[in-house]
């Protein structure tokens, strides 16, 4: 579709888009990024221990813990 409104139309459109992206970024992406950072770098130190532990953990261990919980 042609942009018939000129620079003002484009400015309004882009301002709204980036405003919305800012809101969504703060609401959704930043908390997730913080959570992810905690997963790959617990307490600031880079470590894949949690990912590896989860990848190789056996189901029966989970069941035992679940029963205890």
């Amino acid at each position: 579709m042609p942009e018939a409104g000129g620079w003002r139309e484009r400015f309004e459109s882009y301002a709204l888009l980036w405003g919305l992206l800012l809101v969504v970024g703060v609401l959704s992406i930043v908390p997730l990024a913080r959570l992810l950072a905690e997963g790959v770098a617990p307490q600031g130190a880079l470590s894949a221990a949690a990912i590896i532990a989860r990848a190789f953990e056996r189901d029966d261990v989970d069941r035992d813990r679940g029963t205890a919980w």
């Binding site: 139309e9 919305l20 532990a53 919980w69």
Partner: protein, 592 residues
């Protein structure tokens, strides 16, 4: 697996009920819808307890049927199948609501065309209704899947006693264990949930991108199919289903509520209630029951997140880019995560004072508001997105070419259209807003298809603004009256004798040798929105600069010959395009 099973069951229950309620002539429809949606407003934990009681040894229903278990026996709901059953029953209203909103906007003309062509009701359902309802159906399924995926209450109460863990319960188990690496562990599990949710959204996106679901007609709602002798059995079946769902949940919530009210009721003597009160979670459950009942009875207000959802959905659906694609996926993840995980993420984020301002949101109400907005934004967004898939964009393009800026288009075109797609009861709002754009103005609009240009003459009020309080108030009164009829599913009745607001009689328009309009006559009633579509052929030298050519066309859409009638007053315009003496200033010839 339980999330998938729960989604399939919710789709089966919610889909069938929505089709029956919306397309047939059953009685007491509004009461049924209220009762069907009611359990969704009650906390999942309370619903799970209610179902446990319903299938337990003390179940009055099973006792009456003589199939109740012996005391001390294992409740059959303590299993994956039990989780699937309760998840499906709990979230069926999500599918029901989204599908019903779509069905209420189903155009009557298409169904009647199918029936007139000799198709039976089931064929119409299969070949017309269901294909058109794909966007709301897919949106409902996606919401249900994510809800089932992130639900903690039902798997916790039904799965843990049965030694069956799902991801949310595993997360809670890790958190209950505490320890140095708990946050890292929880984070990895949460990302796993997020990944599964994103796969679900990818599938949804794939399904919606394969076909065109736009509904361009604005005819009134479809006439319900008559069930004849099947009506009573269908009604009995629906109310039985409703009774099993709403009755069980309301019974548990109500019993706990009454029991906590100072021992005024004999419910406190009930064995199950006593058993529950002896458990460590009794007080919490009572609070949950009280707040659930209160929230169920409270009038639901429009979500404030819709202020974000409507413009955001516009960009997500109509202005696709990689960044927006990424946002479309990521926005779903906070809803899929267990609430406590999102809360921990927010705490980690806001524990320290915010940079620059130096204020900490931790331990304030604002961090709760943040979590609510982050978690439930997608609930407002998905139905809006499904509405966008059904909107014909030509109206927005017309207003853009006519000079309406982005904000104006969003408010006067997009928002009313999306609300109309989402809920037929808001048809009055649509017509009220669309009426702002009726009557005056002519626009030339471009659509890209095979290097040809399409011409759209829209009787839109000049520059979309309305002035004159008395005239506007008069219109509002009429639209309120129309809304009453639209809410009942009937076409709006005319309050006045048929009087066309604009009558165009024998209009002819040529662009050089090409005759765009040839002796066209039409009438536009009050509140009606009408467009004339046609192709604008471009000369070879115009093809290099189509925008310039179209701007020229927009500036001079003077009919070569026409007779127009405005409010019973015939106006004849001179072929040169100048206004005759009897033209009103608002509807100047050559701009209409």
């Amino acid at each position: 697996m339980t999330a998938l099973g729960g989604t399939i069951l919710a789709l089966a229950i919610g889909g069938v009920v929505a089709l029956v309620v919306s397309l047939t002539d059953i009685r007491a429809r509004n009461a049924f819808v209220f009762c069907f949606v009611l359990p969704m407003m009650i906390a999942p934990q309370v619903v799970a307890l209610a179902w446990l009681q319903l299938f337990g040894p003390a179940s009055p229903l099973l006792k009456a049927l003589g199939v109740a278990q012996a005391i001390g026996g294992r409740n059959p709901l303590y299993s994956p199948q039990g989780i699937i059953l309760v998840l499906g029953v709990q979230y069926a209203p999500l599918v029901f609501l989204t599908l019903r909103a779509g069905l209420r906007t189903l155009p009557r003309a298409m169904i009647e065309a199918g029936l007139a062509g000799g198709a039976g009701p089931l064929t119409v359902l299969r070949t017309i209704v269901l294909p058109l309802m794909t966007p709301p159906l897919v949106a409902g399924v996606a919401l249900t899947f994510v809800s089932c995926l992130g639900n903690f209450g039902i798997p916790a109460l039904l799965g843990i006693p049965g030694n069956y863990l799902v991801l949310p319960t595993l997360i809670y188990q890790r958190m209950a264990g505490l320890g140095p690496g708990v946050l890292a562990d929880v984070s990895v599990l949460s990302m796993l949930i997020g990944f599964i949710a994103i796969v679900g959204i990818l599938l949804q996106d794939l399904m919606l991108s394969r076909r065109d679901f736009r509904i361009s007609t604005t005819s009134s709602a479809a006439r319900p199919f008559e069930l004849h002798r099947w009506r009573l059995p269908v009604e009995v079946a629906l109310w039985t289903l409703d009774g099993a769902r709403a009755g069980a949940a309301a019974d548990r919530a109500g019993a706990e509520l009454v029991r906590s009210g100072g021992g005024r009721s004999a419910v406190g003597q009930d064995g199950n209630a006593r058993q529950l009160s002896s458990s460590s979670c009794s007080a919490t459950m009572r609070r949950g029951a009280r707040s659930s009942t209160a929230s169920a009875c409270r009038r639901r207000r429009p979500s404030r997140s819709s202020a974000i959802a409507v413009p955001l959905a516009y960009f997500l659906v109509w202005r696709r880019s990689r960044l927006l694609h990424f946002v479309n996926f990521v926005i779903e993840v906070p809803y899929a995560l267990p609430g406590v995980v999102l809360a921990i993420a927010a705490i980690l984020l806001f524990l320290k004072p915010l940079p620059l301002v130096g204020v900490s949101l931790y331990n304030t109400v604002w961090i709760i508001l943040f979590c609510y907005l982050a978690r439930f934004l997608v609930l407002g967004l998905r139905p809006v997105i499904s509405g966008y898939y059904q909107i014909d964009r030509t109206l927005e393009e017309a207003s853009q070419i006519a000079g309406a800026r982005f904000g104006r288009r969003l408010v006067t075109i997009i928002l009313p259209l999306d609300r109309a797609r989402g809920d037929r009861r808001r048809a009055a709002d649509l017509s009220h807003r669309v009426q702002r754009a009726d009557g005056l103005g002519a626009a030339v609009v471009v659509g890209r298809r095979n290097a040809r240009r399409h011409l759209l003459l829209v009787p839109a009020r000049r520059r979309f603004d309305v002035r004159g309080g008395a005239r506007r108030a008069h219109r509002r009164r009429h639209h309120r009256a129309d809304a009453v009829d639209a809410a009942d599913g009937r076409p709006p009745a005319r309050r006045r004798p048929s009087m066309a607001r604009l009558t165009i009689d024998r209009v002819t328009k040529s662009f050089g040798a090409f005759r765009a309009l040839d002796d066209v006559s039409l009438e536009v009633a009050n509140g009606e929105f009408m467009a004339i579509l046609g192709r604008l052929r471009l000369r070879q030298d115009d093809a290099a600069a189509p925008d310039r050519r179209l701007r020229q066309a927009r500036r001079r859409p003077h009919p070569d010959r026409r007779y127009r009638r405005i409010r019973r007053r015939t106006v004849m315009c001179r072929p040169s395009g100048g206004a005759s003496a009897s033209c009103s200033s608002r509807m100047r010839c050559g701009r209409t």
